[in-house]
Symmetry: D2
Subunit: 403 residues, 4 copies
Amino acid sequence: MAKRKIGVWLIGAWGGVATTVVVGIAALRKGLTDTNGLVSELPPFAGLDLVGWDELVVGGHEIRETTYSAEAQVLLEKSHVFSAGALAAIASQLAKFDKNIRPGTLINVGPTIDSLAGPAAARTRKESAAQAVNRLAKDITEFKAREKLERVIVVNVSSTEPPPPDEIRNWNWGQIQKSLQTKGASPLPASTLYAIAAMQSGCPFVNFTPSIGSDIPGLDELARQQQVVHVGRDGKTGETLMKAVLAPMFAARNLKVMSWVGHNIFGNLDGKVLDDPVNKANKVKSKDHLLTEILGYKPQSLVSIEYIESMGDWKTAWDHIHFQGFLGTPMVLQFIWQGCDSLLAAPLVIDLIRLTEREARRGKFGVMSHLGSFFKSPMGTNEPAFAYQFQQLVQWAEAVANE
Amino acid sequence: MAKRKIGVWLIGAWGGVATTVVVGIAALRKGLTDTNGLVSELPPFAGLDLVGWDELVVGGHEIRETTYSAEAQVLLEKSHVFSAGALAAIASQLAKFDKNIRPGTLINVGPTIDSLAGPAAARTRKESAAQAVNRLAKDITEFKAREKLERVIVVNVSSTEPPPPDEIRNWNWGQIQKSLQTKGASPLPASTLYAIAAMQSGCPFVNFTPSIGSDIPGLDELARQQQVVHVGRDGKTGETLMKAVLAPMFAARNLKVMSWVGHNIFGNLDGKVLDDPVNKANKVKSKDHLLTEILGYKPQSLVSIEYIESMGDWKTAWDHIHFQGFLGTPMVLQFIWQGCDSLLAAPLVIDLIRLTEREARRGKFGVMSHLGSFFKSPMGTNEPAFAYQFQQLVQWAEAVANE
Amino acid sequence: MAKRKIGVWLIGAWGGVATTVVVGIAALRKGLTDTNGLVSELPPFAGLDLVGWDELVVGGHEIRETTYSAEAQVLLEKSHVFSAGALAAIASQLAKFDKNIRPGTLINVGPTIDSLAGPAAARTRKESAAQAVNRLAKDITEFKAREKLERVIVVNVSSTEPPPPDEIRNWNWGQIQKSLQTKGASPLPASTLYAIAAMQSGCPFVNFTPSIGSDIPGLDELARQQQVVHVGRDGKTGETLMKAVLAPMFAARNLKVMSWVGHNIFGNLDGKVLDDPVNKANKVKSKDHLLTEILGYKPQSLVSIEYIESMGDWKTAWDHIHFQGFLGTPMVLQFIWQGCDSLLAAPLVIDLIRLTEREARRGKFGVMSHLGSFFKSPMGTNEPAFAYQFQQLVQWAEAVANE
Amino acid sequence: MAKRKIGVWLIGAWGGVATTVVVGIAALRKGLTDTNGLVSELPPFAGLDLVGWDELVVGGHEIRETTYSAEAQVLLEKSHVFSAGALAAIASQLAKFDKNIRPGTLINVGPTIDSLAGPAAARTRKESAAQAVNRLAKDITEFKAREKLERVIVVNVSSTEPPPPDEIRNWNWGQIQKSLQTKGASPLPASTLYAIAAMQSGCPFVNFTPSIGSDIPGLDELARQQQVVHVGRDGKTGETLMKAVLAPMFAARNLKVMSWVGHNIFGNLDGKVLDDPVNKANKVKSKDHLLTEILGYKPQSLVSIEYIESMGDWKTAWDHIHFQGFLGTPMVLQFIWQGCDSLLAAPLVIDLIRLTEREARRGKFGVMSHLGSFFKSPMGTNEPAFAYQFQQLVQWAEAVANE
């Protein structure tokens, strides 16, 4: 079979998650690692002819200036992940991908993210929203042409933005267009501008962050008009995955959750950005609605996310679940999750690239509602329990395999 | 609607689980407690016309001599469960149920359980297995007649027996009958004798313990012949419930479980019995097979159950799950479960009574394969994941509701 | 030996800690409980002729209106402590002590505490600070006369006040007097007014709360002038006790603490008061200075205290200590403390009453610097490590025993 | 000041602890690491003129055949400790030390350790105990001469032996000598033979393992006769350190420990050796006596150590402490210790080398009773509480500084 050439366009291209995605793709190509953590390598997906590691070419947008090797080295030293040997073996591949990175936009990213901008991104500050969208779209189109790619999947893995004004949440495509064309500052956040740029370039858009991205009616309109698929929001990697797994157990056993307290500590760049209370608001909200959806009532709940520098990329969550059993007896479940954030997120990003590419190849468009198991706030589905979300994914795979 | 009269016949009738079942039924009747912990009170089961609290009459077999009030008082003082006021309010009801308790059998229960026997049970030591079955069956039949019961559900909630000899595990009904009739000691354990007595009295049999009970081909033959339903084994209340919920998450995320260590401590009578390594073998086996079934490979695993007197009825489990994420990164999930064993088990026993009664009322017989979510080693189903076991139960409820 | 009669005057007299103190004294008198938790019952204190349980008479100030039996019943039902039988046996003793409770003051207690006031305390709102001091002192003097007491020990166990203005922290007695006599509102908080009232009545003052109380130079002046002993602040019961025990270990092993995160959840009245960020500030400060004192450097630290209603009087603390070992290796210690706040505090309060009475009997006055092991922010000592604080206490006991 | 030349002779010279000691010394020499974890670098020891990193020369006995670089690489890859860059920088130093390693003895090490022997050690199997002692002593003497060393400190860091027969525990030097000279197998274990060889070569002996080593009256006789210092047993690195810190807190608060359960899991070579129940007995005993000594009574206790391969050198301990507070209230403290065993042990070994060298330089001999804070079962002291053991060490340092 002739090799495909598929582009991966990462927003936040030199961040921890993106760097791990790129290290992962490069290591998988060279056979330096196994496929642990990759959902798309499980048996139900074996017959789908998903895109291969050596068929992927990476580029992206980024506001800082660095390289994949430099970022990978920081992860190695600070968080004790990767191996020095593997990094050396893939260094030239990483350098090739570095050449495909272009400056992102700083529009409505908030002061904390803005303060991280390098010179190239800083020079874009004078752009209007419409100019930014055109530039971002051009970068993607040129990448596709330059690398002779069949298709480009755009994935947002950048840091969490502050929440946008409520008004835009229900905007249709007409309102969005008008806002772009109006003189003066548009309230549209960067994540939505990237989504528009992707769709206008004919590319699927995946939003792995809590930022709003394409989760606006007008963007779904655009997706259908452009015949592209899209999905999001907020990759479900750690504590919330646990919630989506454990809360259904309490519900199915009729054990009343009186309170659910979750404290998260971590020390990577995302953590620094989330230390800004405005950006944090977006994240905590994404983590908290789940319980009510699954349980059918709202227990007292508390979610904290704190930046503790020494933790590096390791996120530790302590959850204390106080529940009432039979005859009013209070009982406790506690869990401690010690996971490396980027290493949990990256394989899911790769899965989403492969599954999105497959769905695009099928000629589908609009929201991919079968991907709920990947997201904290999944678009297109009301199913909050992980087990049943995963069942939806497997059923999709069966349907595709039978085509 | 005329009130039904349904009998509940508990094996191990004055044990911690049984006492809590009885306290629970009495408290529910008087409206002294809510229905937390009762699965059968969840919305999917609302339309099934399940048997009500005031329609249940309790009796049972027991080898010790005590009363429900005395046993409940010990739980109150040692384990800080129940309320003194509620116990006072139901004392006369408990005393009525006390009168329906008859001596159990000590055949093949092992020396640790045997040593707990009171005078009445001790006097049965000379019985052959066949004599025991006849006596046990007569107790049930008389209970049904005396209390004018439509149906009696027999539930084994006694302490874990030592494992029986392997040879009997595949016996057909003919072999079992022959063993009963042969002169000399039969290898059939007490739990199986109780199951035979129940079925021969035309009663459904539910085995909430790790003991073998009716999990022998010959017993299923007998069940079909007698047109009764049966099910088991080993109520899934705490750590194993967590395994059945968490292991599918690791599987669905392709996260490789390298090791799963679980340490359980508790201090009730069951704990004392399990401190005998022979009885413990039966229990640990029931807790350990699950991981391999769900994950598809066998991680290094360790399960310990230790008797720590100060814990009373509170079981604390610490589980340490060491798993490998993307690019070989080791991560850890730990959980600590602090639950009161009898209070977790009792509502499930009540659920099983209600659901079994309903299935019997439908005129079904043989193994109830839709009840897998209640058991560590469920009979009649190969589905090990809790979420999908629960789905089977809900589908059953939908089918029954549509009849 | 003739029986002594010693008064115990509790500020916050019907609060959870005070109620537990009173239940404890009454239960000890009747021989209904053992002496677990009482430091003063350890061998080093055996020869000191400390005051006995039947020699204590209780009274106090309180702003709410309730009774000991009612408050004890709430603790029994909500937090599963005490036994119903014991409460019944001591009910008449509790009722006697109820008669000695008088309305406290609401001056500078902050709006959260103020909102809890009953009618009697509400009627004192028009008092000036000087008037309040006089009334409070009169209550104590009358108690002493009415009950024919040799001595009265005043102990503050009320909820935490908002921090006072910084200016007063270094006031001498002259400045304090002037502030009391000036027309208009005095910045002196309630805890200090109680301390003045106690000392002016010739009574020792013990401050078990984070409120400032007698920790002002002018109050020590007053204590010396009145020849009374005093001490404080903030009983060391749970998480901070652990810090005072564990941090010296890290220091002695030269293991560098990179971060120390502590999250506390609990649901009693104190918790509700601390949910007011102003009151909380006082508490968190008291918990946080310790690490720097013991380690000699300031690790990144985080202390949260959150009100979770379902927890009742049970405080759960999760602490995550990230430390660096040899060759830069990061390691982790986590602990989970599940203690019942009032039950941890009450015996220490009883110890402080006994040890303070003993020191007063010796004819000493001023700060009791040997009691540092009881406090989070001990007065009169710079020793932050628990083991060495306890050594100071034992040395004091040896000195007293040799007199 | 002229540079000293001090020898370090490690028993178990290529094991995990020894390898980390050697990597540490080499890295400290080159300034590649800071001094975290080294007690002897704390302020109280600053004026003692302790031996410097570049004054140490390493040799030792070992039964396997490998190199420091190979062993360090395994730790790097399996346990994610050390840095690849640092290992490269010290490779030539490690290779020099490799040349000083000689074959150890297999006498009475038990079958599990014996099975690890390389060809050189295997060839010594025919030696009698007396021959072994002579050979081992000769190795040390030749090392001292070859490297022109002022003094050699012998430290046992080998795997735990099976417990020796009880009879030898009280042997005097005459009995030991007789046993060595008798034809046929001597019951003296390898650790004692190494101690004799060290002392007969005029060298101090430090036993960092649970093996009996010099903890026999006859060995102390020999030490005094040879005018050498010695000390042991069993480095206090993790869970037992925590016990020695926490148990005094419960004692000082009169909180009754009802049960103390400790489960340890780890995956290094020591773990494999301890998987042999005979070797494990020695270890568990060393961990368990402490509680009774500190508390003055024996709570129910449980200590398990299990080999879980995936853990590598990382030891995780979960301890559950169930204690009774005031008015009989049960409460719980749990801790989870996640430490890297070799990295915790190695700095203490280096401290012991330096402090032992200093004491030898003072001209002292016999047991060094001031080093109790380093050991689980310290020789020469009855003080079990860590804080007071450390106080003894600081007082020793003050005395030495004042000489």
